[in-house]
């Protein structure tokens, strides 16, 4: 057993008490977004009742409170990922915007090369394919039959490599990549590394100093925080060599029509009124996760995933695509034989069980590597239980066998 009192912490998540189609909700779509604890929900209400004003601009008391809420959130997040300074934390909308920010602001020149991988979410493929018409070459690092990356690519990086970008954990197969190894090899070649932490930061201790990455992107809504707030970590010293992203208010020092002086990072990348409510809420989510302990969360999810995988592999009508790699997280892609993934999701929904189905925004990985037209996907989080998995397995067991 591990150090989580799941029964107790479930009390913090009001939505888990909901009935769906007359059944108790089992929420297994955590890779898409997670549920929120009352600490976050009530915190946002508290923000609007007590702290709301436009931050960073006005000098009245409330504006100072709002500014403090925003800055405090950055400090909490910096500490959470072990960044050196809150100035290394840029607030964005989500992982997608964080990655796009790098693709728009890093100074690429024609002939530069970017390496992404075959197991990425579309949000870590399209921002790079977008650069192709500007003369940027894009490599897609392959995966093997165990859905692991072909690390030999990084051992023989091309000389023109400028940026290596990869997901820490696949949102389809749950494969956890050896990002430390990739960073080491890439830095030896003098290039930068971006890690898509959308599926890792919520589920394990991610330490940017230990990984030594240059960029880390993640989304608040996948880690108990509100939607519409995301993070881009930029290692100190790198932002100074980047162009602005969006332009407008707050990202400048001085605007004379013939001479615009931009602000220093991180303000350079945070144009316009920011999502302070979101930042504040994400700070509270980070407090919540830290209190529970990321190691406890990781251990709990590992136990759940192994339990589910073992049970699923004993079902003759189910094919599982996850769990083949040496290291994997709490994401299980599967198929029920003879049923389309949407129909699997529909039938599970009738039982109150929420799973995702389709391409999971990773069409190249699913079509070319899994050779599927889509999968059904169950993904777990700290509030999921063994009993829920038992009910899920019962639902799968009879699926497509009933009344036929």
């Amino acid at each position: 057993m591990n150090g989580l009192d799941v029964g107790k912490l479930r009390e913090d998540f009001p939505i888990l008490k909901k009935k769906i189609n007359g059944k108790e909700l089992i929420y297994f779509d955590n890779a898409a977004t997670t549920q929120k604890p009352t600490q976050v929900i009530d915190g946002i209400k508290y923000f609007y009742e007590n702290l709301n004003a436009n931050p960073l601009r006005s000098i009245h008391t409330l504006a100072e409170k709002s500014t403090k809420a925003y800055i405090d959130a950055k400090e909490k997040i910096a500490k959470f990922i072990n960044a050196d300074s809150p100035d290394e934390i840029i607030f964005t909308k989500n992982t997608t915007e964080s990655i796009n920010l790098v693709s728009f602001s890093l100074r690429f020149k024609p002939g530069d090369r970017v390496a992404t991988t075959m197991m990425e979410h579309h949000s870590n493929i399209l921002p790079w394919l977008r650069l192709k018409p500007y003369g940027i070459n894009v490599d897609l690092v392959d995966t093997d039959e165990n859905l692991e990356l072909d690390y030999s690519y990084y051992e023989r990086l091309p000389d023109d490599i400028k940026l290596v970008t990869l997901t820490h954990e696949s949102n389809v197969s749950g494969t956890i990549n050896d990002v430390e190894k990739v960073v080491k090899l890439t830095h030896e070649k003098g290039a930068l590394v971006l890690i898509d932490g959308a599926q890792s930061v919520p589920h394990m201790k991610v330490d940017v100093k230990k990984i030594d990455c240059d960029f880390l992107a993640f989304s608040g809504h996948k880690m108990l925080g509100p939607m519409g707030i995301g993070v881009l970590y930029i290692k100190g010293g790198i932002a100074e060599k980047m162009n602005p992203f969006l332009t407008g208010g707050e990202m400048i020092k001085s605007v004379r029509l013939d001479n615009v002086i931009y602000a220093d990072p991180p303000a350079l990348f945070e144009a316009g009124t920011q999502n302070v409510e979101g930042a504040y809420g994400l700070g509270l989510a980070v407090d919540y996760l830290s209190k529970i302990g990321m190691d406890n969360i990781e251990a709990h999810e590992k136990e759940l995933t192994e339990y589910a995988l073992k049970k699923m592999s004993s079902l003759d009508n189910v094919e599982v695509y996850s769990g083949k790699s040496r290291n994997f997280g709490a994401i299980i892609s599967f198929e029920v034989k003879g049923l389309h993934p949407h129909d699997v999701a529909y039938l599970l929904d009738r039982e109150g069980i929420a799973v995702r189905s389709g391409f999971h925004c990773a069409q190249p990985f699913i079509e070319q590597k899994l050779k599927q037209h889509g999968t059904a996907r169950a993904s777990f989080y700290l509030y999921n239980t063994h009993e829920e998995i038992d009910r899920f397995i019962e639902a799968l067991k009879t699926m497509n066998k009933k009344r036929s």
Partner: protein, 127 residues
């Protein structure tokens, strides 16, 4: 859609009528739903504006497959202009479900959209 209806449809799904390719069709179109991965090519054989045969071939969920199958049933023998009269409500009626869940509307309309695009020969934007 309730579960009984689903299982009734999933019986037809195993071997749906009009699931075939047509050689030398007058019109054809490959329809694709990017979020689901559903992928069907539709075929029409038309003579003097009359639909002599209609079919579909590919891969999709129960809702998209049965919608296509019932649609073919319905349009064969009719004037090609019938395609313009078919909307979601018509598909729901053909399939025999009261109201399709919002998340499945795209599945239900993939077929009719593809037939319409086949005739107008509209290509999806590609980069």
């Amino acid at each position: 859609m309730d579960e009984m209806k689903f299982y009734e449809l999933s019986e037809i799904y195993k071997n749906p009528p009009h699931f075939k390719k047509i050689e030398n069709p007058t019109y054809s179109y490959e329809g694709f739903s990017p979020s689901c991965g559903d992928n069907f090519t539709v075929y029409l054989k038309v003579n003097d504006k009359k639909i002599e045969d209609a079919s579909f071939f590919g891969y999709g969920c129960v809702v998209s497959t049965i919608s296509l199958s019932k649609l073919c049933d319905y349009i064969i023998g009719k004037n090609i202009d019938i395609l313009n009269e078919i909307d979601l409500a018509k598909i729901e009626a053909l399939v025999g479900i009261d109201q399709i869940n919002p998340s499945r509307i795209k599945c239900a309309t993939l077929g009719i959209d593809s037939f319409k695009k086949a005739v107008t020969n509209k290509k999806e934007p590609k980069n």
